[in-house]
């Protein structure tokens, strides 16, 4: 069976696609000979590091490339027509009618100053040939299906009046409303919370199954791939290096890159904690010509042939294809390497039980400006009575949807904002590592000055002593001393995060607060930073507060987990217990929303995504704050407040019906 031979029923058949960006600094070969087929109703996930050409490939299909981009050659056969040969006008018929698009940032496709109705109805009229009234009814029914409450009224609102999740739904409704044969989605859920992401993924799955549309789904979340895709294409340096059925790819990846990628994910099974695999080095500069395999500099299996001739995508049976000279990739060698990874030391050392952070009944209320001067200004209860303790060397993970107060807790801990009431005791000092790698450093300062700033401000040591300390810190975070005199703009995302960690460690703090430290990073780099944090924790016995919406990472790195909802902790306990056996209905919903990078396991899970979105913290409910979304809520819950109570010896939870 030769699965690379074009299948007659293939809906989309892409052959040898090349896309270049003609920039001032040279030609970026973003897509470098990509061929694949998609059948009707098939969902294909495209994964790969950022910059590997995923978006460029997807945009090339409809010639939607931004300015210097150009499809240089290749065939794009959609239902037998070569889109690459169509005129701009003919292609416009295809866009929207035959192919729908969904992007990561809904505002890039929604016109902010136009009502939803004016953006949705005309395309439906044009493409489906309906009258205005019929088209309107159709648009409303789609909005209804994507879960926009009160769709008949909301269709008249403007995009800015909606939340991010809502806009994403509107965009999905728009993409599907003309019943396209193919939907292209570029990271449609990356900016959203897991709960919303789960809703949207379920929705896309249902709706495409219903209309029989095929789908190209670009993501870097391997869990999502496992949950969602029929087939997977792995891109590296502008080429597809592996393509095949999802179960096959996860169970028997053949390309070393795919294999390493899968090894970088924190394991779901918390009993067996080992270091994450990491992919060394950087992807090649796509302006330069590549001889041989593009992955050779980062590949453990690279040999002479890899440096001379580039391997082509070759069939490996069962519809699976890979571009590597080794038939099994790293194969057995990879298993050995994984076994060699030293197991993590047990987290809590006896005798070191000192509590370094104690938070008692912490509140933070923000008073917003009242719209009418005589009205009482509304109060946002961002943090609403939290008590926590962190021991020396312990890592506390804080999880919850965005807006639940995680970052506010971090800022209070760091003393950046004053608390409204309650106390915080810190034995020593709290330092921070923040998410946004671009605003974390003063762009005018060298890395040396950035790292030594805390030392200078506190008058630590002499000039020579400070320099020695900076060198030591750079070594601890795994950066070469030659970086000292560079500027932040010359670093990659992962390197910046290392600098942020070095700066945070300069004064030997007792606790480091890391707010989404890995969210802006690629999977392989994320694994490096997580490994670094784990090493530092063991070596320096420093405590961490690790805040993230990535539950898999949090549960991997943390000893304890606190689950927050609307400014309260609703569950607290050891990470593996909370993750594997959640007690609170909200924790349960959160964890069931997390996609697991294992297609077999995903298939077995029952999906019941949490409905609705986080209520506004402006007017908190009287009873249990989760009651509006809780599947188990009763009238008693709605009227009676619940506080955190012991659930087992090690855990606490805030639900009337837990246990």
């Amino acid at each position: 069976m030769n699965e690379l031979r074009p299948i007659r029923s293939a809906l989309l058949d892409v052959r040898n696609l090349h896309t270049h960006f003609l920039t001032d600094k040279g030609t970026v070969k973003a897509v470098n000979g990509v061929s694949f087929q998609i059948n009707q109703g098939e969902r294909v996930a495209i994964v790969g590091e950022s910059g590997s050409g995923k978006s460029a490939m997807a945009m090339s299909l409809l010639r939607l490339l931004a300015y210097p981009g150009k499809v240089v050659s290749g065939e794009i056969n959609l239902e037998g027509r070569d889109l690459n040969r169509l005129s701009e006008r003919q292609l416009n018929e295809v866009r929207g009618r035959l192919v729908g698009t969904i992007f990561q940032d809904p505002m890039s496709s929604l016109d902010p100053v136009m009502r939803i109705s004016n953006q949705m109805i005309p395309p439906i009229m044009r493409h489906l040939g309906l009258s205005r009234e019929k088209a309107r009814a159709e648009a409303i029914s789609w909005l209804d299906r994507v879960g926009i409450p009160d769709a008949a009224r909301r269709i008249e609102s403007y995009p800015f009046e909606m939340s991010g999740g809502m806009r994403q739904r509107v965009m999905i409704a728009m993409a599907l409303s003309c019943r396209p044969r193919l939907v292209i989605a570029d990271e449609p859920t990356t900016a959203l919370d897991v709960t919303i992401q789960a809703q949207i993924v379920e929705l896309l799955k249902e709706l495409t199954a219903e209309t029989g549309a095929a789908m190209i789904f670009i993501t870097h979340d391997l869990g999502l791939v496992a949950r969602f895709a029929h087939k997977v294409g792995v891109m590296y340096a502008g080429k597809l290096v592996e393509f095949g059925p999802v179960k096959d790819i996860f169970a028997r990846p053949r390309h070393p890159y795919t294999q390493s990628l899968l090894d970088t994910i924190p394991p779901v099974d918390q009993l067996e904690r080992r270091r994450l695999a990491q992919i060394p080095g950087f992807p090649p500069d796509m302006k330069l010509p590549v001889t041989g395999c593009a992955f050779k500099d980062r590949c453990a299996g690279a040999h002479r042939r890899c440096f001379e001739v580039a391997p082509e995508l070759e069939p490996r049976g069962h519809g699976h294809a890979a571009a590597c000279w080794l038939p099994e990739g790293l194969g057995a060698g990879r298993q050995m390497e994984r076994a060699l990874i030293p197991p993590m030391e047990p987290a809590a050392d006896a005798g070191e039980d000192r509590v370094v952070v104690e938070i008692n009944n912490l509140h933070k209320h923000f008073t917003t400006r009242s719209s009418l001067p005589w009205r009482k200004p509304p109060t946002v209860r961002a943090v609403n009575g939290i008590s926590l303790r962190i021991r020396k060397g312990e890592t506390l993970g804080i999880v919850g949807e965005s807006g639940c107060g995680k970052s506010t807790v971090a800022r209070l801990l760091l003393g950046l904002d004053p608390a409204t009431s309650g106390d915080i005791f810190i034995d020593g000092m709290a330092q921070m590592v923040f998410q946004d790698p671009s605003s974390s450093f003063n762009p005018k300062m060298t890395l040396f000055n950035i790292i030594q700033e805390p030392l200078v401000v506190t008058g630590w040591g002499t000039k020579a002593e400070r320099e020695t300390r900076v060198r030591e810190l750079l070594g601890q975070v795994g950066l070469d001393e030659s970086y000292m005199h560079r500027y932040p703009s010359q670093l990659s995302g992962g390197q910046r995060q290392r600098i942020a960690i070095a700066r945070a460690l300069a004064l030997k703090p007792s606790v480091v607060v890391a707010d989404e430290p890995t969210s802006a990073l690629d999977v392989s780099v994320r694994a490096q930073i997580i490994n670094l944090l784990v090493d530092l924790k063991q070596k320096l016995r420093v405590s961490f507060v690790f805040i993230s919406h990535d539950l898999l990472t949090v549960s991997y790195i943390s000893d304890k987990i606190a689950v927050m909802y609307l400014g309260e902790v609703v569950e607290y306990g050891p990470a593996d217990e909370v993750f594997n056996n959640p007690a609170h209905p909200y924790t349960q919903a959160l964890i069931s929303a997390v996609p697991i990078p294992d297609p077999e396991a995903e298939e077995a899970r029952i999906q019941k995504p949490l409905s609705g979105e986080l209520p506004s913290p402006l007017n908190l409910p009287v009873g249990c704050s989760f009651a509006s979304r809780c599947p188990k809520a009763t009238d008693y819950c709605r009227t009676h407040k619940m506080v955190l109570k012991p659930y087992s010896k090690t855990r606490e939870t805030a639900c009337h019906y837990a246990s």
Binding site: L416, A430, S439, N442, P443, V457, L507
Partner: protein, 295 residues
């Protein structure tokens, strides 16, 4: 008139470093900056070396060469008292440049200090400062200048002060908005977690990152000041004759425009050239600072 409406590059990280060699090279390799310098540098050189040029002094009259059109002896011609227009223009440029530079420096300094305080501390200081700047901004700048000059009398100092008066509020606003966008940066928070003083935050983290956009605004302010000074002198409210300010020159020639076009037109063209090149300069700096503004 004095428009300082530049987009604020500070919303993104500014990767350009004025002190670094690399930055200077990038600035000098910008087309607009090159064009501006090609015009400004010769004019400046001529102005500085005017006393050594083989031309009469700006106040020297010559009764045998009255109202002569441009020729090899008098490149820009002479006025009705036989004074050399080229010499007078260069002397005028000297005054204009001085006014432009003084206004830019004064507005930048005051705007930097007050805007930083308002943006950084907020609260009462901010509200008082914003109310005052609002009041000043409500007046057209030329009107404000005319008012001040009529109170303080004419001359160099009143002219500089009068023009700065309408620029300072704009610089305060610009600096305040730059500071506000920087104040919540993560690196400021990082410094605050080690209890860095307010002074440290302002001088190390905030002001250095506002300098570049302020310089762009200052070069526009200088261009405008030159034009406003010419306007004031033209109205008889600026530098007093016989001192050869460019505005005075234009006014002198205005009555003879039909018989002797060169008396006002040539100095006018020089003003225009200077103003345009200063705008090119600011455009160029902005392009270098914010690569996204390039087409």
């Amino acid at each position: 008139m004095a428009l300082i409406s530049i987009p604020l590059p500070a919303h993104r990280s500014i990767q350009f470093n004025f002190s670094s060699l690399n930055g200077t090279i990038r600035l000098l390799s910008n087309r607009r900056v090159q064009l501006a310098l090609m015009i400004l540098v010769p004019i400046l050189l001529l102005t500085v070396f005017r006393p050594f040029l083989p031309i009469p002094g700006p106040l020297e009259t010559n009764l045998r060469a009255m109202t002569k059109p441009p020729s090899f002896v008098h490149l820009f011609g002479t006025d009705r008292m036989g004074r050399d227009i080229l010499s007078r223009t260069l002397a005028g440029v000297q005054i204009s440049m001085f006014v432009g530079f003084a206004v830019a420096l004064l507005s930048l300094t005051v705007g930097l200090v007050m805007g930083t305080l308002a943006g950084f501390f907020g609260g009462v200081i901010d509200r008082v400062m914003m109310t005052i700047t609002d009041i000043f901004l409500a007046f057209p700048s030329l009107l404000l200048a005319i008012g001040l000059v009529s109170v303080m009398g004419t001359g160099m100092l009143p002219v500089v002060l009068a023009i700065s008066l309408s620029d300072v509020p704009r610089f305060i606003r610009l600096q305040r908005s730059l500071v506000l966008s920087l104040r919540s940066r993560a690196y400021i928070d990082a410094a605050r977690t080690v209890k860095a003083s307010q002074m440290w935050l302002m001088t190390r983290h905030i002001v250095p990152n506002t300098l570049a956009p302020l310089l762009v605004a200052a070069s526009i302010a200088a261009a405008n000041a030159i034009l406003v000074e010419a306007g004031l002198s033209f109205l008889g409210l600026g530098i007093m004759p016989p001192a050869p300010s460019l505005g005075n020159l234009i006014r002198d020639g205005q009555t003879y425009l039909e018989q002797a076009w060169w008396i006002s037109t040539l100095p006018g063209a020089v003003i225009l050239l200077i103003a345009i090149s200063l705008h090119f300069l600011s455009d160029g700096i902005r392009q270098v600072l914010d690569p996204r503004s390039r087409k």
